[in-house]
Symmetry: C2
Subunit: 435 residues, 2 copies
């Protein structure tokens, strides 16, 4: 087993049994964290294959992106500032309709490169051609929770078959780095009868599921009109929440909707940037946290964000709650950081990650602090949440494997990915316009 | 005169007479832009002292930060997530009370280093020991609009004398890079009689002024109680708006307040990050723009933001308007970019900058685009506003002088600034605690 030690860093473990931050050494043995010492205690139990000088670093748990559609990177800045319907129907869907497996593969590679370079160690995806998504995740070394997106309006049985096949082939693959869940898109694209089939498949295969929920006002209104229930009420009635569920967005929730999510242990993926940019609104995060809901943070796809930078989303999450409630004490820095790490990991059902602790998975990142925007450092957690940027991430490790070092991707050919992604996107736009 | 040319860049001029973006060359002669060509036309009229390969760049106008308190960088992450009164009275003021000229100098240097490294070419400051602030701005090469902050509660005459002296010594200094304006802090710290003295001094010296206005709900309520008028109504009655005025924040405005600002040509500095973080609220930017008000963007001080990254504030400005009004077409990317450049320059009264145009000041920046989060680039302006980050800024030029090249500061010793700022801040905290 190869051993790596990072020496003399400021360490932010997010482990409640330790101080918020301290100077120390952190040693990684194989795929797990072997030791975390607090100075003056040093870790000398080598031999080490690699010794990293941590004197300019904050070392912390890797960021967990709980919602996205990775290959939509290919549509970044393709269509912005448009009414939602026009954006989807005239811009996004026609291009998505052209996408082939190869496009999804390179779009996902591009997304993973961007995510690793901004400190994300686990991402979630709901899209298509998922074998190629899993292949991209496997090769890159990142941890991934993957769902074949399911639309049930015209039957959708093919999607269920593919999902079952996908589970067989990839559940727990890559040393457990890959988790497969079911991905019914949303209540408005998956009729009740179809959702019941999804529940059966989840029960049969023992998988969790993720679904878009109450993202827009219009969607809630339609659900009330059609079913006489809000989307959470409808899903509860159908029994969806008997399956471990991750609900993305949850912008338009009544107090009783929030109670339903809390009582049923539903996990939420909050996507503040996407919700603002698409004009969906601002989710009631502080109220959800008050009720004890696991609220993780996500970027959503790059066509509605337009980047996959979790530090930005973490900062937005903290700032928005304070701003809309006009209360600066709401959602403090540590809460926002936990939502982006340990709470996200819990929401995805991934054990032994999200905090730094002996015996836990070595999913960690190091952030350079010797930069004007991070000086002084009265409070490392405040500097991470309120001042830092994706480009400050210097080192990324998943399962003890170094994926980024001195901002260089170690397991991906960045220039090749940029070229291939640009080729795919140019072809897609050309073909989209020809149709 | 020295000539520099950037060849083969994507150029975003923000000049309405040209396309939104095009590939071309941009030549700088001395302090001004000599030529901007559109390919296939190239610029060959050398000799050049420096030829820069622009093939991975977007070249655009430098960002204009219309509100801040630069030396408050020393208080970055010193106190966060607290009620406003406790934050100010128990944390910020006791430390500020300890600040000496040397602290302000190094805190300002730190702020300028951070701002240049994130693409800001002009900044505004309202603080104390302004001779040292001007010195820091002069040495660094950045463009600056500087005001001695004025509090009129206990007379405040010393501040007026110092302001007049400051105008004499620094107005138009450094080849016109430094502009001095008057800085009455706010209606609630400057009683009417004092504000009349400020108006007299402004008239005598021909200077503009900047003031905090309607930042918090509580401040508006107090003004109504004390004067029977909103802060804009009060300032209008006092005749402040006969002086060219930049009003910072403007979060809590009635429709009639907005009309007052519009009718009196008052310029506004919008500070979305600070307003959210302090729980002040969200300014009605879309309504102000509708009325034709010049709304620039600012970072405010680093103790309430907590960084000085204008790209973040630009993105927040666009996203917040869409989100709170639930309308994705509001405040499109180009509008946000103009607010951060040309509108900011207009708000500060600085001519011949804010767009790229022959004969205009060579205040420009280049942003690296060969990065995962900026690929593909269907729309360069959307990529700048929605996807880019401060760390993408590779080159910064003010008055034709290169201040940043390949992310290295050319006229500042970055490591020395980080060290000196840390020393100042450590001493301040120590002394603050002893008192």
């Amino acid at each position: 087993m190869s051993k790596t030690v990072i020496k003399g860093a400021v360490i932010v473990t997010l482990d409640d049994s330790r101080p918020d931050n301290f100077k120390g050494d952190i040693a990684v043995n194989g795929t797990v964290i072997e030791a975390i010492t607090e100075y003056p205690q040093k870790f000398e139990n080598g031999p080490f294959e690699k010794v990293i000088d941590g004197s300019s670093y904050i070392v912390m748990p890797g960021l967990v992106n709980t919602h996205g559609h990775a290959a939509m990177t290919l549509l970044r800045s393709y269509a912005d500032d448009l009414p939602l319907k026009e954006w989807l129907e005239e811009k996004i869907w026609p291009i998505e309709g052209q996408m082939q497996a190869e496009d999804v593969y390179w779009g996902t590679k591009l997304a993973i490169a961007e995510m690793i370079k901004s400190g994300t160690t686990t991402f979630t995806d709901m899209y298509m051609y998922m074998d190629r998504v899993a292949e991209a995740a496997d090769e890159s070394g990142i941890r991934a929770v993957l769902s074949r997106g399911l639309i049930g309006i015209d039957g959708g049985l093919e999607g269920l078959t593919e999902s079952e096949e996908f589970i067989k082939n990839w559940q727990g693959a890559a040393n457990g780095r890959i988790t497969v869940t079911l991905g019914p898109h949303a209540p408005y694209t998956c009729p009740p009868e179809f959702l019941k089939k999804v529940i059966s498949l989840a029960e049969k295969t023992g998988t969790s599921l993720q679904i878009h929920l109450s993202e827009t006002r219009g969607e809630v209104d339609s659900c009330l009109e059609e079913h006489g229930k809000t989307p959470p009420e409808l899903l509860k009635e159908l029994g969806i929440f008997n399956i471990n569920t991750l609900a993305a967005h949850c912008v338009h929730l009544s107090d009783s909707d929030i109670d339903i999510l809390a009582e049923n242990g539903v996990n939420v993926a909050h996507n503040p940037g996407s919700n603002l940019k698409l004009g969906s609104g601002i989710a009631p995060v502080a109220r959800m946290l008050d009720k004890g809901i696991n609220v993780g943070i996500g970027t959503d796809g790059a066509s509605s964000n337009n980047n996959l930078d979790m530090i930005e989303e973490m900062r937005l999450t903290a700032l928005l709650s304070k701003g809309i409630e006009m209360n600066p004490t709401l959602l403090d820095a540590k809460t926002a950081l936990k939502m982006s790490t340990i709470t996200g990991a819990k929401a995805l059902g991934i054990a032994n990650t999200g905090i730094l602790k002996e015996g836990y998975k070595a999913d960690l990142i190091a952030l350079r602090t010797d930069r004007p925007h991070l000086v002084p450092m009265h409070d490392p957690i405040a500097n991470i949440v309120y001042s830092s940027a994706g480009a400050d991430i210097d080192l990324v490790m998943v399962d003890g494997d170094i994926l980024l070092e001195n901002r260089k991707l170690k397991k991906m050919d960045e220039q090749d990915i940029l070229n291939k992604a640009a080729e795919c996107t140019n072809r897609l736009i050309r073909n989209g316009k020809d149709n």
